[in-house]
Amino acid sequence: MIRLEKRPSPSRAWTIATPLVAVALTMVAGSILFMILGKDPFAAIKTIFYDPLFHPDFAAFSRPQLLVKAGPLILIAIGLSMGFKAGIWNIGAEGQYIIGALAGAAVGLALYPAESFLIYPAMVIAGALGGWAWAMIPAILRTKFRTNEILVSLLLVYVAENILASAAVGWLRNPEGGGFPGSRNLSKWASSANPELISGTGMHWGVVAAFIAVILAYVVMSRHLLGFQIQLAGQAPRAARFAGVNPSRLVVLCLGISGMLAGMAGLFEVTGPAGQISIDFNSGYGFTAIIVAFLGRLNPIGILLAGLLMALTYIGGELAQFMLGLPAAAIQAFQGMLLFFLLGVDVLSNYRIRIGTGKAA
């Protein structure tokens, strides 16, 4: 008989080891899946995890993609993780990402075609404010009317998507675009471009912002009283009240921070890799970032690694579709397994497994 026994204190070793175990288990289960699909499992795993970085033909193209994809994931996930730690569930980062991109792009386009080094910072600020404002809707509804921020923030994603569509075909459409939907290309206008900073690395301002966010979040969560209050509120709400934490203030703060970072991620994307506002500008970063946040166990350093790993499975997954003809659904199932195993083995950090007949050791 196998029993779970609660550990008196969470095991530090297992907390670090579980993501590695989860990745290993995903590889094993994924291999079985690929084998059933009639593909060579070793080749598939190699294509997903190794080739994007080291393949002689593809790596030059796919290696920079790693930071391009990981940047927004990390930036958004860092913001989300603070709220999640406090028990505040912002599921709508995708919407804040869209509104941030729209707000920032709108400010830039309003100034087109002026040339000034002040334009880009203004757009970044506008993007941050746009995401923040969109996140304030669930924050204020929750603190004033006790609505559920999960539902409100999620549903606002669909509202944001429709605003995006109306912008792409209407008020932000490129007047010189021959009537096609989509805005001017911001990445081709020097004042609003978010270029690759070091050639061949994929490093752009959004990636820089993500790294800064990781460092700041690490400092805040481990040393600042705000980080302490966030953890306290998430673990023991009554104790948090007793410690003088104002729950409403924390809701506004956490949703605000996560909305702001998601908005900035959207702005960096629209001025860089995406280049313009288009109907299908958003590509699910806001939702994937939720997985990244948990994969990194809501820890800033963990999120950094998780964001890179997640980006790798995306790039490698695309490569596997292209090279080995694996169906897209199999790649998605593979990514799903990763989350499943991660949450599954998570139990080991708080419980130990006892194998035996129920006799005490």
């Binding site: 026994e5 008196p8 204190s9 969470p10 040393r223 600042h224 009283l225 705000l226 302490f228 953890q231 306290l232 673990q235 023991a236 009554r238 104790a239 948090a240 009240r241 007793f242 410690a243 003088g244 104002n246 129920g358 006799k359 005490a360 050791a361």
Partner: protein, 513 residues
């Protein structure tokens, strides 16, 4: 008397601790048998084995001279063993009869069940209306529901775990009448308690456990409470001593505090007034659930009130939050240790920061100084003899008594001007309880005002200079504890309660039952 239950050599080990080590004793038919011991002595494990919740590692049990090996509580109940737990498992939104039906395997029709409940409640002197909602009942009445639930099974052995901890003295008298009646009819009762006077009044025999072993058996009537306590603890017990200092100026004043209940089954506080002087301990007695939590929250600042309702040295503080109150010296220790006074999964160091960050200056510019915080946690651990490997351990890894010592120590070492504690020794073993009481008295002797909210009346008689009763959200006027009798206290508790029911504060206090 014939032998009903015979326990021989029962042993049960958990990883790292032997909960029961070769425990043997017998219970005769109709005997009221006390099981005595400190927290962690193994009483709970023992009765759980008898009730079929836990399987012993070795040893045997015999019921009616036949081997008895209950595999689950249902089997125990079928053999005539019933148990009333310390914590009730009742649904507040359902009626008494519905709750009882839920626990039965083949419940009869509702009107038949109601009739049976009425019969049993009349026979045993436990007044209870089967149609009332649990949420409307007092803790004493809820306990009756649990007892009647057991009695409907016509048990041969009734196990009761700390049954009087939630009762007023008068309710205790009613309960004892019932238990004596049951005993006279031949039902044996296994009675777990740490209230020694009650055991002396009720029980025919006592088995005393310490660290999982039977260390003594005695006839409670022939021993003094102190002798039994020393058998439990295994050492001479020191009694906390008051300083006898004269009270100083008023430090905390509550005037006409009224607070509507925040939840449907919470308690509304009505017109509470008190004043607390420096150097004195004010005891507030009363059964839990009569507004204790709400009152503590109003004093700690978790619930804000009109500014003038709470005053510190004449300054209105009713509208201040918990941290602002800590800054001026008003500190609290709530009843619920895990989740309210402390965060279960956080380390003791983090839990030290929880309330001491301002007064102990554990942060500079909002950045926590973890080194200093760890030192403060270590200081608490040392000064209050908290048994733990170190300040890095999670709060939930500590036993209840040790965590309570930590929580009280955390507040006391901040040198408060006012300290309010709710149930300071609930679930704490005798030695730790004595330490905590001594710390509170020392604090008062140094000139702080201390409020002790407790349902343990013996404790209040021991530490408090003045006593008042909180019942139904109303606070009685205070009286000096010197010379106060248990009957008078009972009347104070009942009086406040009746007044609330009749909505007439001046009404003549009447007997609770």
């Amino acid at each position: 008397m014939t032998e009903l239950l015979k326990i021989s050599g029962l042993t049960k080990a958990y990883p790292g601790v032997v909960a029961n080590d070769d425990v043997s004793f017998t219970v005769a038919e109709g005997e009221v048998h006390a099981l005595l011991g400190e927290n962690g002595a193994g009483k709970s494990t023992l009765v759980k084995m008898i009730y079929g919740l836990v399987k012993p590692d070795s040893g045997t049990m015999d019921l009616h001279a036949a081997p008895y090996t209950p595999s689950e509580p249902r089997a125990a109940r079928a053999s005539g063993v019933a148990m009333v737990f310390q914590h009730f498992s009742l649904f507040e939104a359902l009626s008494v009869a519905e709750n009882i039906a839920l626990g039965m395997e083949n419940p009869p029709k509702m009107h038949e069940l109601s009739q049976r409940i009425r019969d049993v409640s009349e026979t045993y002197g436990l007044p209870l209306d089967p149609d009332r909602l649990i949420g409307e009942l007092s803790a004493g009445e809820r306990q009756r529901v649990e007892i009647i639930r057991c009695l409907l099974q016509d048990p041969k052995l009734l196990i009761m775990d700390e049954p009087t901890s939630v009762l007023t003295p008068q309710e205790v008298d009613v309960l004892f009448e019932t238990l004596r009646k049951l005993s006279a009819e031949g039902t044996a009762i296994l009675y777990i308690s740490h209230k020694l006077e009650e055991i002396r009044a009720l029980c025919d025999a006592a088995t005393i456990l310490r660290l999982g072993k039977v260390v003594a058996t005695c006839i409670p009537r022939e021993q003094s409470a102190r002798e039994m306590a020393e058998m439990m603890v295994g050492q001479a017990l020191h009694t906390p001593k008051a300083s006898g200092a004269e009270p100083g100026d008023t430090v905390l004043q509550v005037s006409n505090l009224s607070l509507p209940s925040a939840t449907p089954f919470g308690t509304t506080l009505t017109d509470i007034s008190l004043d607390l002087k420096r150097g004195e301990i004010l005891g507030i007695g009363g059964v839990a659930g009569n507004g204790q939590d709400e009152f503590l929250n109003a004093l700690s600042g978790e619930t804000k009130t009109a500014p003038d309702a709470v005053q510190f040295e004449g300054q209105p503080i009713g509208n201040l939050g918990p941290n602002e109150r800590r800054e001026i010296g008003v500190l609290c220790a709530p009843e619920e240790r895990l989740g309210h006074a402390a965060a279960p999964d956080m380390s003791l160091t983090e839990n030290a920061v929880l309330t001491a960050v301002q007064r102990k200056e554990l942060a500079q510019n909002s950045f926590v100084n973890w080194g200093k915080s760890r030192d403060y946690a270590k200081e608490i651990i040392k000064a209050f003899d908290v048994r733990t490997p170190g300040p890095g351990n999670a709060a939930r890894s500590l036993s209840g008594g040790n965590l309570q010592k930590f929580v009280i120590g955390r507040e006391v070492l901040q040198n408060p001007d006012v300290l309010v504690v709710n149930q300071p020794t609930w679930g704490v073993d005798a030695a730790a309880a004595a330490d905590i009481r001594q710390a509170l008295m020392d604090l008062a002797a140094k000139g702080a005002g201390v409020i002790v909210i407790s349902q343990d009346l013996d404790e209040l008689m021991e530490v408090a200079d003045r006593f008042c009763a909180l019942a139904g959200g109303r606070l009685s006027s205070s009286r000096p504890t010197q010379g106060l009798t248990v009957d008078e206290i009972g009347l104070m508790l009942g009086g406040a309660h009746d007044a609330e029911q009749e909505a007439a504060p001046e009404a003549e206090p009447t007997h609770a039952e």
